[in-house]
Amino acid sequence: MLEVFLGIDVGSVTTKIAAVDREGQLTASLYRRTEGRPIEVVQESLRQIQAILPTDVDVAGVGTTGSGRQLAAVVVGADLVKNEITAHAVAALHFVPDVHTVMDIGGQDSKLIILEDGIVVDFAMNSVCAAGTGSFLEQQAHRLNISIEELGRRAMRSRHPVRIAGRCTVFAESDMIHKQQMGHPVDDILYGLCQALVRNYLNNLALGKMLRPPVVFQGGVAANAGVVRAFAEALETEVIVPPQHEVMGALGAALLVRERMNGQPTRFRGFGAAEIEYRTSSFECRACPNRCEIAEIRVGREVVARWGGRCDRWEMA
């Protein structure tokens, strides 16, 4: 019987699952869109990963991460709920034990993690705005009627990239349109866009930090060869993209829960969790002028989780 640990990363745009065995080897993984309905997508992902894994598999522990980690933890029954900084750092260390710099760019946010002798010593995340993340690249690809994969390929062909303002996606878009109307080749505009994203990332997150090699680049955007090239040029060093770069958060959560569990029983609800009907509702608390929006998750009549308040009045998870 194969014993595995599951890591589930519910991000803003995509949901990832990774399964590792007792030795920490990745045995299966899955990457799909969150589609704005995290509960169902987590359940469907569970069904899909079960189909990939051998039939006699035994789940010994589950860890969740990502912005939907609390929700996922309730749905599947998790033993560990971890923030995505720690999860990504653990996963990067697994592939590159002496890694110094981890860059992660996802759908809505970006992270920079600095490590020293295998421990996180500094990190930064993008602040209030999602400029320079995957969603923007995707939107621009869509506007030019090319797939996101093609965007990367075409950016690689660019010989004389044009300069695109990277400070804000709205500025960037008008700049791109301007350059396109001037007749610049699309390949050069696309690579200019990748460079703008990299500049934005470095200005925002890397302020005053030393980005020393080895540098690992992960997250959905790492699939884009144009952005990888722009990073390598800007940092003047090799940028390592791990083979499972898009599931690193999930992998980190799986590795962390593997460390955590010392033979105690898991709280995993079993693959049957995919069939449970979770109902969500929300209401406005009127106990004070804050009028917090409280979200509630039920199975049948039983409330299994409730959150969203500023105080502890309703909280339970």
Binding site: I85, T86, I119, V121, F123
Partner: protein, 363 residues
């Protein structure tokens, strides 16, 4: 002339002390409701988009005070160097345009001692110095007591055995303090008030992290804006140390060669990173951060309203501090957003990182 009904914006324990003082001076005090979503909606509707979030929230507070019948408002501001500095007059004009005719007094947090005397002169018109002794003693007592309550709260939260017990005790203590009317009563009841907190079951031996909280005072004092940052940190096992004590902000340090003036010490310690006053609390923030970085804390959290010019300067100065002293700094900026997930992720990751650092040092 109608009698004055004075309001002071809701700023945690600072308003408790201010309201107590104004009452002791014989004024009728109108307490505005705590800052809430409604306050934010009012502020955002009536203020220019580019104003900072403290300006907008404060304007909402003033409107809510006027709605409750206040006809005189103590506004934060004055001739400072941040946007808040010039805002009082504009806020007053905005209030008038909404149909509220209020007298406006300004209280500048950056020059609190000076404005405290100034306001006293305005409100205590015609009173003898002897008649002021009682109110001033009450004010000092209230400030000291609320500071004490906050300090104990910050130490208790990470050590409490039952989640939320500290905050319940704190709310009760603050309600008791709000009812104190004269210095004698304060003297008689202060131990009872503090024992409410001491009675919270806690584990004094539990290992906790120590974090210094620096940055904008308004943000630190307004849980609505900082999304209950201090509570969240307590839950994560962190004892928070605020960079300021209100008592020290209002009461000038004693003159003389033997004084221990932490403020001056801080400015000296920080001058290496920020050599001059750039407005707001930037200089004090950097100075206090530099003092705390000398082994007093495991790390620093710097809070700023999004777009706050002085605190952006402070943030850049803290980068140098972090590099030189090796003290980790987490920057958080707050605006209209009320979702907490992003903040909680950053705090959890910061706390994970600091524990790893401590384990590595063998602590």
């Amino acid at each position: 002339m109608t009698s004055l009904r004075v309001a002071f914006p809701p700023l945690g324990s600072l308003s408790l002390a201010a309201e107590g003082y104004l009452r002791a001076l014989g004024l009728e005090v109108v307490s505005p409701p705590p800052t809430s979503r409604r306050t934010l909606d009012i502020g955002v509707t009536h203020c220019p988009e580019m104003l900072c979030i403290p300006c907008k929230l404060l304007f909402g507070n003033y409107v809510e005070a006027a709605e409750r019948g206040a006809n005189a408002i103590v506004m934060l501001g004055g001739a400072g160097t941040c946007r808040l500095g010039y805002s009082a007059m504009q806020q007053a004009a905005r209030l008038t345009s909404l149909g509220y005719n209020c007298r406006v007094y300004t209280f500048d947090l950056y020059h609190a001692h000076r404005d405290f005397l100034h306001l006293t002169r305005e409100f205590a018109d015609g009173r003898s110095f002897r008649e002021l002794i009682g109110p001033i003693r009450l004010l000092l007592g209230l400030l000291r007591l609320t500071d004490e309550v906050e300090t104990i709260t910050l130490a208790l939260r990470p050590r409490e055995l039952e989640r939320g017990a500290t905050d319940r005790a704190r709310a009760e203590a603050l309600a008791r303090i709000a009812a104190l009317r004269d210095p004698r009563q304060l003297q008689a009841e202060q131990n009872d008030v503090l024992s409410l907190l001491y009675a919270v079951p806690h584990d004094p031996k539990r290992p906790v992290l120590h974090l210094g909280l620096v940055g904008d005072v308004y943000t630190i004092l307004t849980p609505f804006l900082n999304l209950n940052l201090e509570q969240e940190l307590g839950r994560l096992g962190v004892e928070v140390r605020r960079w300021f004590r209100l008592t020290r902000k209002i009461v000038p340090p004693l003159p003389g060669p033997l004084r221990r003036d932490r403020g001056a010490q801080a400015v000296r310690a920080g001058s290496r990173y920020l050599a001059r006053d750039v407005g707001g609390f930037a200089r004090s923030t950097v100075g206090e951060a530099a003092l705390m970085a000398q082994g007093e804390v495991d790390g620093l959290i710097h809070v700023a309203p999004f777009n706050c010019t002085p605190e952006i300067v402070a943030q850049s100065a803290l980068v140098a501090l972090q590099r030189e002293r090796g003290v980790p700094v987490l920057n958080l900026s707050f605006d209209e957003q009320t979702g907490r997930a992003g903040m909680v992720t950053r705090l959890e990751a910061f706390v994970d990182m600091l524990w790893a650092a401590r384990r590595k040092r063998g602590g």
